[in-house]
């Protein structure tokens, strides 16, 4: 049976299809109409079961069907599939950072998630890359090439950006600024990891795990080896696809999934 896992994130949409193993994976930018993106992605593929995860899971699953699962569970399942000895998952995505502690059997024991704002998320690095006029894919390498150390104190994306602007105006090299930004975000994520009490093996996934500098700084700060899978962005969608495969998935999903509205 072909199963599909769809991770509808704030920045990217990832699809993984599986039969025995992974058949196919695709990554698209979320854009302004995630539902249509998902429909296009799925139209080109045949599958029998679908599990949707990510920020847009309720929107997409209610429109095109499929069960839903939280990113926390999906990343845990995906990471355990790749590394059966994984006990801690760090997922730094577009809008959220999450750290999840797993039992020896792979059950979610507890998790930490950043509050409300983009500080400490991939979006933070993306905004800063734009300010430094480098491609987000090159930001990590730029930081690693720094020969000088400066400090960014603010973790608020807005305030940090003005700090960056003032560093630029003082003539500080962009590599040093890039390193300072990585230091700031790594300190924040490391704090979350410490709060949860990490157990090895620690797997770092999500789009920001592609950033080599962030990977290195996190390892240094935590004093532990951190594993980044070859395709860190697909771990959530992989987890969702695996849950579509397991019969238990239907019991794991919410029955009532109206979008909450508040005063």
């Amino acid at each position: 049976m072909i199963c599909a896992g769809l991770d509808v994130g704030s920045r990217t949409i990832v699809l993984v299809t599986m039969d025995g193993g992974i058949l196919d994976s695709a990554i698209l930018e979320t854009g302004v109409n995630p539902l249509r993106r998902c429909q296009e992605l799925l139209a080109a593929r045949s599958y029998e079961r679908l599990v949707v995860t990510g920020y847009g899971r309720h929107l997409v699953a209610s429109a095109i069907g499929g069960d839903i699962v939280s990113e926390i569970k999906a990343y845990a399942v995906g990471a355990r599939h790749l590394y059966p000895d994984c006990r801690t998952v760090i997922d730094v995505g577009g809008q959220d950072s999450k750290v999840t502690l797993l039992s020896a059997e792979g059950e979610v024991l507890k998790f930490e998630m950043n509050d409300r704002c983009a500080a400490g998320s991939g979006k933070f690095l993306e905004v800063m890359a734009k300010t430094l006029e480098v491609d987000i894919g090159d930001l990590g390498a730029l930081a690693l090439s720094a020969s000088k150390v400066v400090q960014i104190n603010s973790l608020c994306t807005v305030f940090a950006e003005s700090e960056v602007v003032s560093l630029i105006s003082r003539g500080v090299e962009s590599s040093a600024i890039a390193l300072a930004l990585h230091e700031a975000i790594a300190a924040r994520i490391a704090g979350m990891v410490r709060r949860i009490g990490p157990k090895e093996r620690v797997v770092f996934a999500g789009g920001a795990a592609l950033d080599r500098c962030l990977h290195q700084l996190l390892s240094e700060k935590l004093g532990i080896e951190i594993t980044v899978p070859p395709e860190p962005q697909i771990v959530g969608a992989l987890g969702a696809a695996l849950m579509a495969k397991s019969s238990a998935s239907s019991q794991q999903t919410s029955q009532r999934d109206s979008v909450p509205k508040v005063v």
Partner: protein
């Protein structure tokens, strides 16, 4: 009726344009959050009616009382003793401070990084959109947090305000200070109303307020049943309405509701299936119409079965001993009862940790959600101890920090979904 209301609001100096926006916003939200629920107790009809006419009939009642010479005393906190207000033939009204609507108005004056409850309450007065504030003769504030304390100073520029000093420790010296504060409050209320508080009146008022506590205790007791006979949202609403509705009517309506839900319990009927994960919410108060977290939890497939908060158990768990006696003795008994409220303004506050663990067991919960209004530092810091205490007991905890806006509803939903996946097994 509608035209009567408009005229009344105009007379109260309400900003009608802004007020219309608020009144138009509420019904669709209430319909979505409350009326969409299935299998509700019939007794909730009264509370639906009260919310449906939230700035109407109750305000008219209060105005009528005021016209007849009765003093209306507005409060924000469970530390202000209703017994004393009622014993002076005045009417206590708990003000709401639970909507994003009044927050931007307050932010014109107050710092933005102030908790939503403080901003919302201040915005209601500044924006002239709350007829309860407008009807009241006196607002009684307290010193349970630094933000409120300073906000009240600014509020006093717009409305008569009296502040009660709630101590920060539970030593004998602090208890004595609070006894003095309650005695001073008696004098303030006597002066404000021109009515003497006699021993007899104080005993009667004590019984009345205790009756409301007993009614709410009775309601909460039904929530210990599995399946739970009433939704968390409905129970929260009952508590919220109890803050401002006529006390005798409220007691009657809550008890009528209890008659009904107790029958449900006897028959094993629930509002959610028996296997629904049961959650205790602990932390900052949820003033009406703040139903955000309950709604997210209950639409995600959880049942909220208890609130360890000022809009929950802290409001009614302890009674004042009904021993009568001279006024001074009764005042002491009242003061001592309020010192049993385990607000995070106290240090140390180990009793609250014990309460949370005890309630988690009594209500047979699968997990606790610690609710923190953003910028509420006392609860945010105390959450560290709550986490440790619950970890020791093996009770899962989700810590949530939020405000009244819905911009983080998606992120909250992710946490809640993951938490429920975790505790559902």
């Amino acid at each position: 009726m509608a035209t009567d209301n408009r005229q009344m609001w105009a007379e109260l100096g309400i900003d009608l344009k802004k007020h219309d926006m608020l009144m138009n916003a509420l019904p669709p939200i209430y319909k979505d959050i409350y009326l969409s629920q299935k299998n509700r107790p019939k007794g909730m009809g009264f509370f639906d009616f009260v919310v449906g006419d939230i700035h109407g009939i109750r305000v008219q009642e209060l105005r009528q009382h005021a016209k007849n010479g009765t003093t209306v005393v507005a409060t924000y906190c469970v530390f202000v003793p209703d017994e004393i207000v009622l014993a002076a033939d005045a009417i206590p009204v708990g003000l709401c401070a639970g909507t994003q609507f009044s927050v931007p108005i307050a932010e014109e004056v107050l710092p933005r990084n102030t908790c939503a409850l403080i901003k919302s309450s201040f915005g209601f007065k500044l924006g002239r959109i709350c007829p309860y504030v407008q009807t009241s003769h006196l607002i009684v504030g307290e010193t349970t947090c630094d933000g409120k304390k300073k906000m009240f100073e600014i509020l006093a520029e717009y409305h008569p305000v009296y502040i009660m000093e709630v101590p920060n420790k539970k030593t004998q010296r602090s208890r004595d200070l609070w006894r003095g504060e309650v005695a001073a409050f008696q004098e303030v209320i006597e002066k404000q109303t021109g009515n003497e508080i006699t021993a007899d009146k104080l005993s009667k008022a004590t019984r009345l307020v205790n009756d409301r506590r007993r009614a709410l205790q009775r309601l909460y007791n039904t929530r210990k049943a599995n399946p739970v006979p009433i939704s968390g949202k409905d129970a929260l609403l009952v508590t919220q309405v109890a803050f401002y509705d006529d006390i005798s009517r409220c007691i009657k309506q809550v008890n009528a509701l209890c008659d009904e839900v107790e029958k449900r319990v006897a028959k094993g009927e629930g509002v959610f299936p028996a296997k629904t994960p049961r959650v205790l919410i602990s932390g900052s108060p949820m003033a009406i119409p703040n139903w955000k977290l309950h709604h997210i939890l209950e639409t995600a497939g959880a049942a909220v079965v208890c609130e360890e908060s000022c809009t929950g158990t802290r409001m009614f768990s302890d009674l004042v001993p009904e021993t009568g006696g001279p006024v001074e003795e009764q005042i002491k008994a009242i003061a001592d009862r309020y010192m049993q409220i385990h607000c995070a303004c106290f240090t140390p506050n180990e009793e609250r940790l014990d309460d949370i663990v005890r309630l988690a067991r009594e209500y047979k919960v699968d997990g606790v959600v610690h609710y923190n209004l953003q910028f509420c530092h006392t609860y945010a810091n105390e959450a560290v101890k709550v986490e440790k205490a619950l970890e020791k007991e093996g009770i899962p905890l989700l810590r949530v920090e939020t405000d009244y806006s819905d911009e983080d509803a998606g992120q909250l939903r992710t946490r809640v979904d993951a938490f429920l996946e975790m505790i559902r097994r």
